[in-house]
């Protein structure tokens, strides 16, 4: 028996393959993005192979191009284009090569970075959602031409698809609990007088760095895609308003719908926020910047975001003087309330804070009465902390005039407060 020993620190190698549609103009950013993703997943890229042709139904690209890629002896072939179950089966059986497509590469990065229970479950659900039809198709291919009975597929293989569906149901139920907990947490935070602001945007736009700059925290931030997977929340005071700023997972172009569904509990931090800060990297070339903003808009639409949006054009310090206004004009239709900022040099953060305070729903004035009971007095003490108390008069009952959030006042109703 011969076994190959693989040292733990051995470098992973890959060849990138891109097939471009002949009727469309070539896209230089695709390979850049794929290379960035491969780097983030820890692969050393040996070569890049391009082909301009219509889709090959057996292998996605031409046979010769795949042989050319395999001549570099890579551990894996990474395709930019999505591979169908049949294509994966054909390439594996014909060339004995390990293949990944862009979506699987993203999932590989996610699974190495997932640290919380929620993130791990979401990655597993996304993987299973992708695998389920692949397994079904692979089983159909295996069973093609077989005889019923003795030469049929084994019970284990037959039940694999059903096992996957069962596991998916369990994960979905667990994630639904996490989502409910998140909803309760958001409600509690609103009752405590906080406004919820979410940071959203294309991956590697600088969301975590912006969170660190605004709140003075030290969340992990790196110049690579998908550094953040689980939401991270930090408190901040913006011109007298108490704000909770949440950093979320970045978006990427052409994400399959089921991946967005798998990350629903994380993305609900964006869809349920009071304000969304859409972060974009303004140092990108204009065409790429527009495309990334459009991809972010699509993801926000898929998340059913109804909150107002402020666009933070981050990394403005990398631009030449006078170029920023020109760029802002180019993306005006995609960038609501654009603010030029730099999370590293802290340029424009003051303007951003003003913009946040302006775009948040203004606090309403309320007049309520509280009973002279221990509970009423406890509620008054809570209102001192969570709202801006304008006046308190001690009459037959406590008459309180305050400025605050609807949820905070509704919470006071539980302690016997009445609105006047």
């Amino acid at each position: 028996m011969h076994a190959k020993m693989i040292p733990m620190n051995e470098e992973k190698t890959a060849v990138l393959l891109i097939r471009e549609n002949p009727i469309k103009s070539p896209d230089p950013y695709k390979i850049k993005e794929l290379r960035g993703l491969a780097d983030a997943a820890g692969y050393r890229v040996l070569a890049e192979v391009f082909q301009r042709r219509s889709r090959d139904f057996r292998f996605q690209m031409g046979r010769v191009k795949i042989e050319q890629a395999l001549s570099y002896n890579p551990e894996k072939l990474i395709f930019y284009n999505a591979l169908s179950p049949n294509q994966v089966f054909n390439i594996r059986s014909e060339f004995s090569a390990q293949v990944l497509d862009r979506f699987n590469l993203i999932l590989e990065i996610f699974s190495t970075r997932a640290s919380t229970r929620e993130a791990k479950l979401q990655v597993e659900l996304a993987k299973l959602s992708y695998d389920a039809p692949q397994v079904k198709s692979a089983l159909a291919l295996k069973k093609r031409g077989e005889q019923p009975g003795f030469r049929g597929a084994g019970a284990y293989e037959q039940s694999m698809y059903h096992d996957i569906r069962g596991r998916m149901s369990k994960i979905k139920a667990e994630l639904a609990d996490v989502e409910n907990m998140g909803e309760d947490r958001r409600q509690r935070r609103r009752e405590q007088g906080f406004d919820l602001v979410a940071l959203a945007g294309y991956t590697n736009a600088g969301k975590s760095t912006l969170l660190n700059s605004l709140t003075g925290s030290e969340v992990e931030a790196k110049d690579q895609p998908f550094t953040t997977l689980s939401p991270t929340t930090r408190a901040l005071e913006v011109l007298g308003r108490k704000v909770l700023l949440t950093d979320t997972v970045g978006f990427i172009d052409d994400l399959p719908h089921f991946l967005i569904k798998a990350f629903r509990s994380t993305l609900s931090e964006i869809s349920e926020a009071d304000l969304v800060l859409l972060v974009a990297d303004i140092s990108d070339p204009p065409e790429l910047l527009r495309r990334k903003l459009a991809a972010s808009h699509k993801a926000l639409y898929d998340c059913e975001v109804k909150a107002p949006i402020v666009t933070v054009l981050n990394k403005a310090d990398r631009l030449e003087e006078g170029k920023a206004e020109e760029l802002v004009e180019l993306i005006r239709d995609l960038a609501p309330y654009p603010v030029l900022a730099s999370a590293i040099t802290r340029q424009g953060l003051g303007v951003l804070e003003e913009c946040i305070a302006q775009r948040l729903q203004p606090l309403q004035e309320y007049k309520i009465s509280l009973p002279y009971t221990a509970e009423g007095l406890r509620e008054l003490s809570r209102l001192y902390e969570t709202t801006e108390l304008l006046s308190v008069s001690y009459e037959e009952e406590l008459i309180v005039r305050l400025r605050g959030k609807e949820e905070t006042v509704a919470r006071a109703g539980l302690s016997g407060a009445r609105r006047l």
Binding site: I23, K24, H297, V305, I309, D333, L334
Partner: protein
């Protein structure tokens, strides 16, 4: 039997600011191809100013410059949240409109 719904609206990047008009145009064709779709869209958008926004699938994923030259109008695929919302609205309108027309025809036949 096809129905094309047109929503003429003024939009900001993430909201529909004002809906000027909603138009429903029915059309009967034996087969569907790019010419039929392009003529149908052109007819439905007659006298409506502004850029036409439509789903890429409706126009066979053609590149924007080709669609512009076929329609002879400014054209784009949806990018912003507001554009997608407007298209969703047009989609619901066309489905409901088609159903109403078909129901009305069935009622007429039964009578």
């Amino acid at each position: 039997m096809m129905v094309c719904a047109v929503v003429s609206a003024r939009i900001s990047p993430n909201f529909i600011e004002k809906i000027h008009s909603v138009r429903l145009i029915p059309h009967v064709a034996r087969a569907l191809d790019l010419n039929v779709v392009a003529n149908f869209i052109s007819r439905a958008c007659t006298c409506l100013p502004g850029t036409i926004v439509a789903e890429s699938g409706d126009l066979y994923n053609l590149e924007i410059w080709r669609v512009k030259s076929i329609l002879g109008r400014d054209f784009k695929y949806p990018e912003t949240i507001a554009e997608r919302t407007a298209i969703e609205m047009a989609h619901h309108t066309s489905v409901a409109g088609r159903r109403l027309i078909i129901d009305a025809r069935e009622d007429d036949t039964n009578e």
